[in-house]
């Protein structure tokens, strides 16, 4: 029982952290172009040697 007392707040805190990250990512426009983001990782940005 005493375990719950700190485990639940920790779980909620971590959940809120995730929620905060999600809200930030939406606000910074990371969900505006899902197709582009999926493809962008395939572009090799390094200059050829």
């Amino acid at each position: 029982m005493s375990g719950i007392l700190f485990l639940i707040p920790i779980a909620l805190f971590m959940g809120l952290l995730g929620l905060g990250a999600f809200i930030w990512s939406v606000r910074s426009g990371q969900f505006d172009d899902p197709a582009g983001s999926a493809n962008r990782i395939l572009i090799d940005e390094d200059e050829p040697l």
């Binding site: 779980a11 909620l12 929620l19 809200i23 939406v26 505006d32 197709a35 572009i43």
Partner: protein, 738 residues
């Protein structure tokens, strides 16, 4: 007009000048936004589909001088460029177009902005609901798992924590539903959001009371999960709508729409059409399309009004006559006085027809709406009867209301809310890949019920661009081309296309409405209409030209209007699929009959005015036909909006695009796919609704008899939502396979 008028307006085309063509992207500079030193432009790029395209475009434009940012949004096709320095906007567009992609100015409207905000708000609400649902579920699972062993106090604490998480989440994420429910309730009606809001509010209130009293069951998890699932549907719907609208808008926002205004000092200035006011003097360059109605200020000009009237033969206008928006100038540059603003020019009268069609269309009831209309009273009365029944059976107020609320929750339309949007998203996404842009998801339902297809001719079936018939002698073509190369008239261009590159005669004179003439080796050569040349071979076919070399007998040159490649296959596919086809054109009888014959279409109407077209559609509707109208011109706009469903090619003018349900860019051959996928989508949606009904058939007895514990509600809700979504996703595989 008298002959002296004509001669007074002859225009000299000296060598070297006539081949200097404007860049097609010249007008883009009117769309550039400046802030401080940096300039910003938003373009719409079509054809970019993969990482390769994305990298190629961004790298090429990023390498241009002064470009600080070049970012392409692959989902919407919007390409944002920021740069400093003297780089002209047109060279950015040329770079993209040089890579083989379509490019035009993106017209960002207030509606776009509003939709983007709505989508973002729904996404945030969904995230909050997901957080709440997941965390409450965590606590609920321990309550369920500990059933029988867990102490009453522990359970109460867990319920209380759930309630604390649920309250802000419901208040924040539930707003879209509460708002919509409230707005219809105020008008004394009900939509799907009414039972949803009621279920959420009641579930929360009852659970709070139960928690305080230390009761057995709390429905916080169900309330949060309900909102989460429903928001998924809402979000998907918003996304489809936004993507479709922005694509269609941008297709309409062609770069050529920037207009040249002559200010009082006589300076020509490219401006955004939005700022043109009545009375402004505008310069209509050769080949340019009028974007506002105007009165011709010069003596004479020749126009291609095929988008306005559907007739493909050019029209000659004299001073003071009205140039309708949508007409293309075929003669040399002319000045004209604007008669209206761009926003209201295109048609007070066609606007009326559009409104009528719009009303007709909004009267169409979506399958989902029909389902809801049956569903809402059913669920409410089921819940009310449950409550009354348990009260009469002597269960007491608290138990009766608890069971009634659980009935409301378990029957809540998660599956119903997801059934249509998921199918729409998948189908619209597939069509988007094939170059078909849907205006709204429910258009798919109307496409699915079509039984007759009415097609416009010019611009839809045929290219609307004349081509020299194959039988013409090569020597004659080469001779005619000597004159034709100096002109941009469509018939001249057809000759030039057939002849290929070559010399042009010196000082060719173009006489609008008549033809071309030049002095070649001491004799007068003329290329023009039979009437002007003075030969009347009995046939007054406007598509014929005559070439007269000196005193020789005039030689006729015949032109035909070619079909768009792939049209015959598309029509055959449609006939095979059981659709009746029909041509409805404003063009002359002979040309329509020819096309109809070539395509094997037996029903056709020619020389139809816009009013005739609308009346024809009206008549078909009264006969009980569900008509799909395909057309591109201004003369089709009324008919497009009156039809049961309508499609328009990407080359059409904006008024037609906005009057229709979908815009295709890949040619008419995409029509069979569109119709097939629509039918398939409707089937999937019907399956989903049937499933949702069956689900309720099973769930309601469980709930009414008081067996719908929070655990059962959670399982049932998730199962039905996932099943419906998976069924809809099958559509993607269908479109891929065929």
């Amino acid at each position: 007009m008298s002959n002296s008028d004509v001669l007074a307006y002859t225009r000299d085309w000296s060598l070297g000048d006539e081949h200097k063509e404007d860049s097609p992207f010249e007008g883009l500079s009117a769309f550039v936004q400046k802030s401080g030193k940096s300039q910003h432009l938003e373009l719409h790029v079509s054809g970019a589909k993969c990482a390769g395209c994305l990298g190629k475009i961004e790298k090429a434009v990023g390498a241009l001088e002064g470009v600080s940012e070049a970012r392409l949004n692959l989902s919407t096709g919007k390409f944002n460029i920021t740069w400093q320095g003297p780089l002209p906007a047109s060279s950015i567009a040329e770079t993209v177009s040089g890579l083989g992609y379509g490019v035009s100015a993106a017209a960002e409207t207030d509606a776009d902005e509003l939709q983007r905000k709505e989508e973002r708000e729904l996404l945030l609400a969904m995230g909050v609901a997901a957080f709440a649902a997941a965390n409450i579920m965590l606590l609920s699972v321990s309550v369920w798992a500990g059933a029988g062993e867990m102490g009453a106090n522990t359970k109460q604490i867990l319920h209380a924590i759930s309630g604390v998480i649920a309250l802000p989440a419901i208040v924040y994420s539930g707003r879209p539903f509460f708002r919509s429910a409230w707005s219809v309730l105020k008008r004394g009606r009900a939509n799907m959001d009414v039972p949803i809001s009621l279920a959420i509010t009641l579930a929360f209130t009852v659970s709070v009371v139960e928690t305080i009293r230390g009761g057995e069951h709390a429905y916080f998890d169900a309330a949060a999960m309900l909102i989460f699932f429903l928001l998924i549907g809402r979000f998907l719907e918003a996304r489809v709508r936004r993507r479709a609208c922005s694509a269609a808008n941008d297709l309409a926002g062609m770069s050529s729409r920037a207009v040249t205004r002559i200010d009082c000092d006589g300076n020509a200035l490219k401006v955004n059409p939005g700022v043109v006011a009545p009375g402004d003097i505008l310069l209509l360059a050769q080949g340019e399309r009028a974007v506002v109605d105007m009165a011709l200020a010069d003596e004479l000009c020749e126009l291609d009004e095929s988008l306005v009237t559907g007739e493909s033969a050019p029209h000659v206008l004299t001073k003071g006559m009205r140039i309708y928006a949508g007409a293309v100038n075929l003669s040399g540059p002319v000045q004209a006085k604007a008669l209206s603003r761009a926003s209201d020019s295109l048609l007070a009268d066609i606007g009326r027809m559009l409104d009528a069609g719009e009303q007709r269309r909004s009267a169409y009831r979506k399958i989902a709406d029909k389902a809801v209309a049956l569903y809402v009273p059913f669920v409410h009365s089921a819940a009310a009867l449950t409550f009354i029944g348990w009260m009469l059976a002597g269960a007491g107020f608290r138990q009766s209301i608890l069971i009634a609320v659980s009935t409301l929750i378990i029957t809540c339309p998660c599956a119903l809310a997801l059934a249509a949007p998921v199918a729409h998203v998948v189908a619209a996404g597939k069509l988007f890949q094939k170059g078909i842009f849907l205006k709204s998801g429910d258009a798919l339902e109307r496409f699915a019920s079509v039984d007759r297809i009415v097609l416009d001719k010019t611009g839809t079936l045929s290219l609307g661009v004349p081509q020299l018939s194959d039988a013409t002698d090569q020597k004659i073509i080469a001779d005619a081309a000597l004159l034709a190369r100096a002109s941009r008239h469509p018939l001249s261009r057809a000759i030039t296309d057939a002849a290929g590159a070559g010399p042009v005669a010196p000082s060719v004179k173009e006489i609008p409405g008549c033809g071309l003439e030049a002095n070649i080796e001491g004799t007068l050569w003329r290329l023009g209409s039979g009437q002007w040349i003075g030969t009347d071979l009995g046939e007054t076919h406007t598509r014929n030209l005559y070439l007269q070399r000196g005193d020789e007998e005039p030689i006729p040159l015949e032109f035909t209007d070619r079909l768009i490649p792939g049209t015959d296959d598309a029509i055959r596919d449609l006939e095979k699929a059981g659709y009746e086809t029909e041509i409805l054109s404003g063009d002359a009888e002979g040309r329509v009959a020819e096309v109809a014959h070539d395509l094997g279409i037996s029903r056709y109407t020619s020389a139809a005015s816009p009013r005739d077209k609308a009346a024809h559609l009206e008549a078909l509707r009264e006969q009980g036909h569900k008509v799909l109208m395909v057309g591109d011109g201004l003369n089709d706009a009324g008919a497009l909006s009156l039809a049961h469903a309508s499609v328009t090619p990407g080359t059409a003018i904006d008024i037609s695009q906005s009057a229709s349900d979908a815009v295709y860019t890949g040619g008419i051959s995409s029509l069979p796919l569109l119709l097939k996928l629509s039918r398939r989508t409707r089937n999937v949606m019907l399956q989903n609704f049937t499933f949702a009904a069956l689900y309720n058939l099973v769930a309601i007895p469980i709930a009414v008899t008081g067996h719908a514990t929070p655990l059962v509600a959670a399982l049932a809700m998730s199962f039905s939502s996932v099943a419906v979504s998976l069924n809809a996703i099958r559509l993607a595989a269908f479109a891929e396979g065929k």
